[in-house]
Symmetry: D2
Subunit: 502 residues, 4 copies
């Protein structure tokens, strides 16, 4: 579930496993950590029952030191508390209700078992939604071993539920860095079972295999990677000629991108602002920096609720779109004094500078919806003349000597990850994309994919979309033979050229 | 802050103070109780620091049994813990930032002290926003004694802050019914101080004075009442010829109504649904029952975020408006099977019946934004064949024998009070309206108001609005003499006839 | 069909019939004349076939000098050319398609003939839509005689079609003032037939009867009047104690007002601007003066199409609404330099002054959607240093000495009447309201209505709305007995108190 | 100005110049013809003064037979009437007001004359907007000779104005097919002047040069082509290895596409429907077939004005977008009975079949906004049992035996070209794109472009956009050096990768 927002454009050196003590310096890990923290927090914020089970656990023994056995007698797993399995099952069942695309995939592929023989090692956030993915892979014939891509993001009861059904899971909430690599190792290094597919989120699993078990790649048919960071690492490997199996970049599929950015942000900007500040949107003057997909989503939602929105842009094409969509295009410095809310969505750094912050009016809210925590120069606010006051979780008042307060949300980290939740439906898009990428790579005839990084074929992208249409009771029209011929299309797609802009 | 939503259209018998044991039978009180509970809960949901101070108090001694003194040596108050005053002060200061209309009123009326000599006894929710109101009244020259209109809604640290500055406050969170009337009595019955103005919210204070201290009315210049229930009681008194002072109904002022209903619900429907269910709005099929101001607000917001909305109506004029605004007008039974979300905003009862609930699809969300908790027949779901599962605070899954789940929010009580927050700006409108009504009644020349219930004069309604325009940096145009003459208007308003529909 | 826009707030002296030569001085008549002209023009603009028949008529003989007879042998009518009846019939049939409310009224009331015995004399615009109204009245049992309220607005072929079916019509396009009163007289003054109901639009018919045949009022059960001007005259009569029959003001019914203002202007502002200037709305900076119903309609539409809209207001309540709806509230002089389009909707005078016009940028478009032609000080532009260039019908370029051009539409008259069309559906609302008002007044028991001016009873207003719901396939919900009792409502309405704001 | 809508996806054989008599069979030409007819008509519809000058010309002599000389003594042109030059000049001046991007380009490139030495032969619609383009090319140093790409689309007075200033123009409204090729020939075949650049719209000029003067290509540095058809022809030539110079496809630039499709259709769907039918949009049930850019534009506008819109799609990704944007996705046959309006935007054929037409309700409006006139099976309505009634220009009522009427607009041809106008601003985008493409090809260093078809470089696409930002007073933000480095971008762009979806 690693959203691209979680990582950003930082130019990252490939993490060296030996440098565990340096670990926290890497922006990637920092990024992912803040993701995980925010996941759990936002779960709490939204009454998630799951969180409470996790939190109520007062057992301080490390899972690595416990002997646990599931009801089938297996001990091939390591979770916080196998007894939470029943609670976890309920969470999974609730998630299934909004992930009917995967359930549908299970049914459609039930007979043929397209993943029969697949041995998948996975490293992702371990949530109820991931569990639905894993159990789908199993239903399609795969054997899976799983670990967490983040030391904080595991829902313990879900891990327990998976372990109970026989999936070897090695993960718990609050792992140490040492635990983290130990878990990965236990997933990969298992007597008599060798992975032939990798599903990764962030590239740490891939990295570990490269470092420790390079021979595994002889059998591996492919890697599926969904994070910006992980994809970046793969492209670097490919460029360096070191990528020895095909890899699929599922981060950039059309469907996933639209949901992660435009549609998801359209809702989460409202949610994030409301939960942190209880602001009334009507009549508020808002400047949104950046009119890409994220910015477009934010602007649409805020305008719809009565805010008066203007934007800043560096790209004249996006700026012209903003004009036509009814937003004034301004320089930040021109309007900063009047703004009630400032939102960054640029992927750039220091878009909101200390100088801008100095000129904001009393009560101005500043937050970031972009790629990284660099967009707002929060560091510049850590200066002696300013007072920080934490008024709520994720909400700081920065107080100027004259009493002016500026309200900074999530310390400039991603608002939608820190202060709002991600709807299961969005996660369903991602999980389905991952499942289809695994099926494609596993079943592709020899030679279709070389030792390179590929985008999901458009036809499969379309298939992901089609699996989600029943959620909306949407009825697709089929081309007649005559029409297909007229259009020069196959009746089953793909329906658009690769460069189509949607 | 008693929103009209808190009470509803129940035909209420005037509460008999002797019947304390029957108290909870009255829908009004039930209504207000659920309001208070929800206020504290939603505060928690939104990270309010206030709640934590309150909650962390493990002192179980009743405030009535404690001896407390403020730093000025006064003991004329009864709050949970006077030591929380400093924390409460901060909450008040934060509220002041969004209530600049009252601050502005303080400044404008500073010289003349229009409430000099006024002795106001008040009974309202005691929150940071109310504190800003009370301190404004004091700044305008009034003496105030205050109590809570609800046994749960007091923010203890705010009460402490008020008591610390010398306002006699009698209120704490979690009063018993006996405490409730004791506090009211302590406010009214005070040696050497007799109220000449009443500010009430729900009518209990007014009721108590009628029952116990009718002679007080000899000096009282007027009652200001802001709740639907309280206003209803006043009209009944007036009808019965028992109203012995002028009363002002501030519930029905244009400005307050628009903000309580249209504008506030436009935001709170999204907030309430998101915080409880994390639903994605895009593409969801929603039916909104009732296209009054509340329904219009809900429909606007949901449509703007990509939901597909249809409505039900009994009134053909509102139905025609819905058509012109782009909503299909349907009967609930026609569409109930397809809906993802069902929202009631009718003020009526049994709008969503058990039969409708039986026909909903799996995962359907049902909630109420209307006036009372009768709109959804939740009682009918308390039957043996159905299983209730509380999955989060305010969220129940009702499970049918075939496994179908229907998600009921806040047990059919008001979603926006139970599961979202009310922006301070909306409360500012209400508080300013109350302050102006007090000033008007207190200063009105003899004979302007008789022993009847009055609406706020339109000119003052306009003045409330004008005090809030600076928040938006809005610049009003002034009529020239020539234009005023042409229009037949006074340059200072009122600008519209009374029947104007806005 | 006299829309209120056609007249405005001018303080009008009651027209003196003797002063025919002064006729054109009266703003009412001027108002109505420009209405009629625009009707025919806009018909042309929108390809109306009707116009062509009218225009192609090269017969210059006055209808008063022609002997015409219809196919039933009647000569009791005076139209341009009875032979155009067939063409007119087709126009009527096309109009019927969008006026199903009247057709439905015909059916519902077929058995009982609620207008049996009614003798209605009518004076309105004579268009296909009016014909549908007249033929409905006849179907309900009435006898009708009809004349035109405007010398230009008659569709000759429609008048012919009516005459052919036996309705005595006296009207043609291009009457002289003398013709105008002659026609009215022929309608009223008819041997053996005396009117007992009057349907008027503008008050000229009523005036004529008062002056010439006051005894007619002995039999008249009521007057139905739909124009602002006519209603104003009636209120003056009433005030002066001279109104001798009940009169119904149908101009101010809720349904009619919403359609004439909010809904109709929402569409006509776009249509009017597009047909005259081919402007692209996206990104245009627009200021709308006045945020009443007309202004709200304009703002909604322009914002929806990507314009950046700000408003000016004198009323703080409307200004606050504008803020909450997402529009900046400004003074005209603050923004005038930047605007691409300036639209007036105030009902006031000199809202756009010469000083504003002088400061507009090159290419700025100025137009009026308000009540009268006084809002823009067009007269101030008739000065020697400015050049007027008529570039299209209804479009003038005013050229400043430095070459700057300001584009004035319809010379400051009402844009929506001059340069766009009124959908038949809006006219259907008006005509149905008129029909119901006639039925109500004709059938009211003695004493229900006195010699005063009345608004349409809310229940009938609701009935008008309900008759139009089938056009939208809208299904109204009915209250159960239990619900009606709970709400204290009659199941058949009225559903709202009189002061309800919709 | 050949919009892509004008042509469609027909698989076209390259037109054989010898087959003049077969000319009208080619869908391309048919498409363009209908374009031209509609241009003039829509001009009339919108009060264009230009049209009247053209129409009032009662001179029936062929321009080829007239001896005309401009005021500089030149006879190297052939237009309808050189005396209309002054009128044409005014039209050009008005167009210049909305084409400030080209004016700005003139100024910026004034010193360097980037087209010095260029000899451009052009074949486009000859309108005021094209004249602004041509005069810009001249201002940049080019010599131009011009002809019309369509026999109907020439504005005679504009052609005269160009001829008067010395541009050899060969074009008039109402050319015969023979005239058409004669004019092209006169442009190309000129003693002592040989073109080195070609600007084409539709490919006829290019075709003629290939057939008649292939040696010209020795000097030609490139072809700029803007129509779908012309581009298709170029790709065919390229594929066949016959393209002997570089060609630039300006049809597919991002900026032009967005304006031609999304933004332009958002406005023209409303305009086209209103001008033809005076329909009220509020509450209308509309189905839009196809949710590409054109469909998105139509849906946005109609929904914004209160229509209830559903869509049909074959592509699941677009269908999912429609869901998220709040539109029901249906099959046409499921909803056809209820619809008030049916709009096609698919590029496909027989999307609306006779069977659908048979099931429409009385009064249903059918129109086409897509690529070609094949989307609605209008031919199937030419059957004996149905009656066609032309009620207005471009509006036919098709009457079924039972009296049902279906309203077909523009006989199924493109509504926006037939019944609405194209704002000058959209044409400015296109013209600027053409100018920049000419500059780029003319100045490109040897080897940058081969004998192939190219898209406009993204940087120039961005430049087109930036030239139009001043129209909106939009202020672009510039990257700091540090930011540019962080993003890995050049400060002057391009700012996005080629695959960016906007």
């Amino acid at each position: 579930m690693a959203h691209k927002h979680g990582h950003g454009r930082e130019r990252i050196q490939f993490a060296n496993a030996e440098d565990k003590q340096e670990f926290s310096k890497y922006p990637t890990k920092a990024g992912r950590r803040s993701l995980s923290r925010s996941i759990s927090q936002s779960s709490t914020d939204s009454y998630s029952s799951a969180a409470s089970y996790t939190d109520s656990s007062d057992d301080e023994t490390s899972p690595r030191d416990k002997a646990q056995v599931n009801s089938h007698g297996s001990t091939d797993f390591c979770v916080k508390n196998i007894k939470q399995a029943e609670f976890g099952r309920r969470e999974i069942e609730i998630a299934e209700q909004d992930m009917s695309a995967l359930i549908s995939l299970r049914k459609r592929a039930q007979g043929e078992k397209p993943l029969a023989g697949a041995k998948i090692v996975g490293c992702t956030h371990i949530t109820a939604q991931t569990a639905v993915l894993i159990e789908t892979l199993v239903a399609l014939g795969a054997q899976c071993r799983w670990t967490a891509c983040n030391i904080y993001s595991t829902q313990n009861e879900v891990a327990a539920a998976l372990a109970e059904t026989g999936v070897p899971v090695f993960a718990w909430k609050g792992e140490s860095e040492d635990d983290f690599w130990w878990c990965i190792d236990r997933c990969v290094n298992n007597d008599g079972w060798q992975a032939n597919m990798i599903l990764d989120d962030g590239g740490d699993l891939t990295h570990w295999v490269y470092k420790k078990y390079p021979s595994v790649f002889k059998k591996v048919r492919g890697i599926v990677e969904e994070s910006v960071t992980g994809v970046h690492r793969l492209y670097q490997l490919s460029k360096a000629g070191k990528l020895c199996v095909p890899a699929m970049n599922v981060n950039d599929s059309v469907t996933k991108q639209k949901f992660d950015n435009l549609y998801c942000c359209r809702e989460s900007i409202l949610d994030g602002l409301k939960r942190t500040t209880d602001i009334m949107f009507g009549g508020k003057q808002v400047v949104v920096c950046g009119y890409g997909e994220v910015g477009k989503g934010c602007c649409t939602a805020l305008k719809a609720l009565g805010a008066i929105v203007c934007i800043t842009e560096i790209d004249p094409i996006c700026a012209l779109q903003a004009c036509m969509d009814g937003f004034r295009v301004v320089k930040l410095s021109e309007v900063i004094r009047q703004m009630d809310v400032v939102i960054t969505c640029t992927g750039n750094k220091n878009v909101v500078s200390r100088e801008h912050l100095d000129r904001m009016k009393n009560g101005c809210i500043v937050c970031n919806m972009g790629h990284s925590n660099t967009e707002i120069d929060v560091a510049s606010l850590r200066s002696p003349e300013l007072t920080w006051e934490r008024v709520r979780s994720q909400v700081d008042h920065i107080i100027w000597p004259d009493g002016k307060r500026v309200i900074v949300l999530a310390e400039g980290r991603l608002l939608n990850l820190s202060c709002s939740t991600v709807p299961t439906f969005v996660l369903s898009i991602t999980a389905t994309t991952q499942a289809l990428a695994l099926i494609e790579l596993y079943n592709a005839p020899e030679g279709r994919y070389k030792q390179d990084v590929y985008l999901l074929p458009k036809k499969m992208d379309e298939y992901v979309a089609s699996l989600h249409l029943p959620n909306f009771d949407a009825h697709l029209t089929e081309l007649s033979d005559e029409q297909a011929k007229y259009m020069g299309l196959n009746k089953n797609g793909p329906f658009k050229p690769n460069y189509y802009r949607y």
